[in-house]
Every structure is written in C-alpha cells, then in structure tokens.
Amino acid sequence: MRRNDTPVLEVRNVSKTFDTVVRALDEVSIAVYRGEIVGVVGENGAGKSTLMKILVGVYAPDRGILLLGGKEVPFPRNPKEAAQRGISIVYQERGVIPHLRVYQFLFLGHEEQYRGPWGLQSERMKREARDILDEFHVVCDVESFMYELPLATQKMVEIARAVLGVRLESRGKDVAPVIILDEPTAPLTLEERRELFQNILRMKETCSFIFVSHIIPEVMEFVDRVYVLRDGKLVAHYDLAQDAVTEEDLFRAIVGRESLAYTFEARKKTVSSEVILRVEGLTKRGCYYDVSFELCRGECLGLFGPAGSGKSEVLRTIAGILGFDGGKLVIKGQEAFSGEPPHVRLERGVGYCSGEAGKELFFHWSIAKNISIVNLKKVLGKFFPVIRFGVERSIAEGVMGKLEIKAPGVHAECYSLSGGNKQKVSVGKWLERSPDILLLEDPTIGIDVGAREDIYEVLLEMKQKGISFILVSDDPKEYALLCDRVLVMRGGRVQRTVSAEELQEVAVG
C-alpha cells in the first residue's frame, strides 16, 4: 500500500568524495514514506553519518538529487534550511545543554519568534513548551533544568525539539517532518530504550523517522524498513514487514562476512575446577546485599540485571573502586579487604576494563603508551628501570595486529581513533598483561558489529589461556556469546543462576 504513495523524502544517487581519495558515499538512494521508521545501518565509516549530514545541510553532496513530496529541490545548505524543508536531526550525544531549563532548551536557536518588547517572552515559551511536550507524551516540568531529567526523557525532549524546529522554521507551509535519530539509544539502559521506543512509535502518526543505529536487535524490533550501507555503498534494503529477514542476514549484510556471534561452537569449554575468586555474602548498603558466588579459572561469569540492580557496583567492588560493608572477598585464596585501591587489586591479579568512552584511555597519549601503562613490568628494563621503547613498540604492534586496530601506527594519539578502535585499545592492553581475572563493564558499548567481533575473538582467546572474566553488559547476546554462567540480579540481590542460553530466552521473552 505504501509503495503507491509518494515518499516524503527521497534521495537518488547521492555521491560524496572527501579529499578526492575516499569515496564516502557512492550512488546511494533512499526513500522515506509518511509515518514510517526507516533504519539506516552500517559499520562505523560505512557512510551513515555522511548521508545524514548531507540531509541536514552540513555537507554538500558531489552528485545526486533530493525530492521532497515528489518535487525536486536543491539540497539544504545549512541545518536551518533543512529544518525549513522538514528535516531535522537528533545527535547521538552532546546535544543536550544541561544548565538550560526545558523550555529554554526546546526553543534554543528559534528565539527570534519569541522576542517581545521586554526581552524574551518566557511565559509564552513555557505555555507552548507544555503543549508540545503533552502532544508527545513527555512527562516533565518545563521549568526543570535539563540535567535534572532522566536520560530517556532528555532524549525525548531533544526529539520534541527537532519536531518543534521544523514547525517553527517552516511556518505556514505544510511540511511533513522527517526526524533523523543518530544512535539515540547509545547512553540508555535497556528499560530506558523501551520507554523511548514506545514514545517514538506514538509519534509515528505525525512524523517520519530515519533511525541510524548499529544495534541489530533494536533495528529488527523497531523499524519498518532498513537500508544497509557498507563502504559508502547501499548493499541491501529489506522491508521487515514483508521479507523474512533474520538478525544473521542483517549482520552479514553489514559486515560482509559470517558472524562469530551466531556460531556457538566458538565457545569451547574452558572452565577448570580451580576456584580463583570466592565472594561470600558481600554487601554494600544501598547498592547490593548478600551476593555470593565462586569463579573458576577460565570461566566467564555474567552479572545480568536492569540498571540499579547492583551489577556494576558488585563489579566495581571487586575492582577496588568501591568498598563494601560486609561479607568476604577471597582472591586466589587470600582475603581482600574493603578500601583496597584498584592498584592493589591489580597486584592480586584483578584487572578492570570499562568500555565507556574516555573512562580509562589517556586521549592525548599514543596507543603504545596507553598499552604500556598496565604492562610497565614488561616495558621497564630488568636492571635499570627505564622505559624500553623497543619493547613498548613491539608489544603495541602485537596488540594492534591481533585486534586489527586501524591507526597510522603505534604512535598515533588515541583521540584521533574512531570509537571502535579506542575500545580495542582499552581491551587490548589487558591482552599482554594477562591478569587472572578481568572485569569487563560494557566492553563493547557504542561500537559497531565488526569491532565487536574483533574484541570478542580476543576475549575468547584469553579465556582459553585460562583467564577468568566477570561481565556486566546491557546486551543479552553478549552474555550468550561469552558467559558460561549468568547471575540474574534485581534490586541489589541475586535472583537466580542461569546458563547463558537460558538467559537469552529470559531476555527475549
């Protein structure tokens, strides 16, 4: 039925070349119909962002045409022009201005229509802000500060702001808004994502969405049609309502090869009987209570639960970032005490690796230095403790080769790397150190499927070497792939222990 309509937005044969060498986009065509959610997926560097930036007027395309409601129009030259034509974008991060009140943020950049004789007409802005938030079922006080809102609500306010921008800029003309959501769920927890999706689905009647993402299950569940980009080309287009598409198909289209995550034999049994970590009745008031488990050498244990279930806090307690009030923590037969700093735990053989961008990388250091920082024993000379540049270099080259880190060399500074490559450095530095226990907190958050696979491969290899893991993540698939056993936590208590395969059913059902 939809096929017979005219799309509200269509681009045909768009190409864009940077610096005459890199072909960022090659003859890409997509169409968006009224009231639908269109997914655009692809790895980092596949051209998703370039395409979106062309649509909102940040870049000008080399070639291609833009049709709005069937009529050919020139490409917008800046975000304001794009908004006048109905196209607006919600950026992945850093779009929120925390110290502005909700109504101030909603109208930011459009104040000229609210200028009165005595400055800005804040009462009128508040009134109209309330109306639009009601329309989109966003529950919040227009006078609160943005930083007071939960993350999911902040995202909703940003989306409302995008729609509002289109309405204000296209005053008088009837334009159908097309809102681009650039990885909107990246900072959100599982429940917050659900809430956001429900809200967006409700808004479908009034606007269309382009949903840029690399989280496959999310795309499968949520969008009507999906375009797959790879290396600047459109490689696949699925109508999820009609075509029988599996997650695996989508994965193959995105990466261009078979997925590790869907071949379970990659996970061999590596668990030995030697208990390496014993936790008995561990309690931290206000965070978690009476947590007990044992971890064997070569085992990967998952801690699963919603945000606030205490899973991250347990992990951080073992890492030495948080203390505990009661219970016992025994690492390799020796009792560890509350208040021990992380470096003491590292001496005992416990490493901590977080995927949260910027948390543990030194952005202005080279890749080699970032890897050396946890491998100083190897890097420093035996008799005369100075940094041996040769050793540093060879260790870094080994890690880079193994994880396929794409960078000009070991001396490239970390801030210049893409998100996926940064994360690979974060995880890769532990490869050489080989602690007995590695604590992983969201090791692959916010990175594309290809980079994920590379990290999983290395983790599984480390596991085979007898390293134990404790994993905290938001992605059930990750548990399924890596873990031997999963503790399900809720409200700070362990509810039950399940196998990884069971967990997947629990999470899906």
Binding site: R94, P98, H99, L100
Partner: protein, 318 residues
Amino acid sequence: MVKTRRVWYPFFLLVRHPVAIVLVGLVVLFSLLYPQRFLTTLNLTTILKQFVTLVLFALGPSMVVVTGSLDLSYVGIWMLGGVLVWLLTPVLGLFAICVFPLLGLGTGFLVGVVHARGKVPSFILTLCLLVVYWGLTAALSGGYSRTVKGYEFITASLVPYIPTAFLWSLPLIGAAIYLMVRTRVGLYLYAIGSNEEGAKLAGIPVEKYKILAFTLSGLFTGLGTIVLFQHLGGSVPVELNLKNVVWPLVAIVLGGTPLVGGSGGPQRTLLGALTFSVFYRGLYLSLLHPEILQLLVGILLIVSIVVGARGLRGVEIT
C-alpha cells in the same frame, strides 16, 4: 517520572543561593560580636563602598565566567584608563572620561577575538594583557601616581549615608542582570558555558557569542570604572595590587558562578560581593592582623571554588 516539586519560594531561593545563608549568618554573627561597632551607619556605609568597588569590577567578568572562560583584564582597564584620562583631560576636558568605556570595549573585543579565533586560553591571555596594561600605565605616567581633578561631581553626596557611587552602580547592575536573564544573548552565553558543543549543534554561532561575551565584559568594566575612578580617589596606582584582581574573583565564585560556567551570573555576583564585603569588614573590626586577613580571604576563595565545583548536589529539596 519527574515529580513536580513546589517549594516555598524563599526557601527555594536559599537552597539555590546558599551564600544567602552565609550572608545572613555573617551579619548576625558580627552584630553579636561587635554590638557597638558593626550596625552603625559609618560601618554600613563603608560596607556599601566596598561593595561598589567589588561589584563594578566583577560585573562584566561574571558574564564571561558564565561561558566558562575567565577575564582578568578589569584592573588593567582601570589603571590604563586612569592614566589616559590624565593625559587627555588637558586636551578634551571632561570628555576625557569617555576613554574608560571605549578602552573597555576595545579591550574586550580584542580579547574576545584572540580567544575565540586564535583558541588561546582566556586565563593566560587576559593575565598577560593585564601585565601589558600595567606596564603601559607605568610608562605613560612616568612612574608616578597621577591625580586628575574635575570629576569630583561623580561621587558628590546626593543622599545622606548612601555613597553616590552605589547609586550609579544600580543601573549598571540592573542592565547586566536584565541582559543575562531576559534576553537571547544571556541565554546563549549560559548555553555555551553549559555545553559548548551542544550549543554549536543547536545552531548558535558560538564564536560570535564568545567574542560578544568578552566585549560586553569590557564594556561593563569600562562603564563601571568611570565611577570607580573617582570612587577610588581620582587617581590610579602605578603598581599592580593583587588584591584588586583577586577580590572580584572571590565575589564571583562566592556568589555561586562556578568557574566551569553554565550557571550563576551577575545576579549571583551581586550577592557574592555583598557577602564578601560584610565578611571582610567584620574581620577588619576584629583585632586580627592585616596579613591574617589576606590569608583568610585566600582560604575563602579556595573554599568557595570547591563548593562551587561540587555544586549543591548534596542538598536535597524535600
């Protein structure tokens, strides 16, 4: 979801502006300690005088601090302006006083352009400029403090007990607060201080507004120094006095404008300047040695920076 909390407004104000509690506390404390001397018209007038000095220096820079930058050039504008007035008065007569706002405007614009376009950290830039202006002042004045006569009318007494300089400062304070609270310019400056990249994404020309922030800061300092010039004796020193640089900064931070920007503003600086004046005057009445006073002022700055950086996250509105 988000609970809409309605709080008794004065209480809300106290929580949002905790320095007000400190102010009331200090007034009560000093009135009890020095019943004969603190609540006298002479003492209160002195406090007002001190307040005027602080607030006129701090008003402009507090707009810059809101954007997350720092402007230390205010004392430089006052010193160099004073010498220029001395040089130009024989030529231009009383119009020479216009040097102040023009110098302020020019300085602010220059700093803004170099800071925003050249990506030079504003702290070091304005500190260097301050030293340059200090050097220029010494060179132009020949190394002596120069008194200029003829502007006494500016601070001539109008209302008994209330310093005229205070009356002059009121419209400036009003204009600054109005600008920051009610207009688009103010809103954009807060936005830039809160999240510069987000402001850019929202389509705000960040560079332009940063330059504007420094220009406004210079202009307000320039206008303020017209009053301050006479208020502080009708002459300028040729030696840089560090307390003139530090005290307004204390007033800004104490008032509740964190140095990282995003919140606060001139209305807070007002409160900070008043609190600081009361604090200093109270200590002055005590028998503490003057050097100890400087020490306490330094500690006060550190404490207020720490509190400002941590914010009020510890305080719950119930």
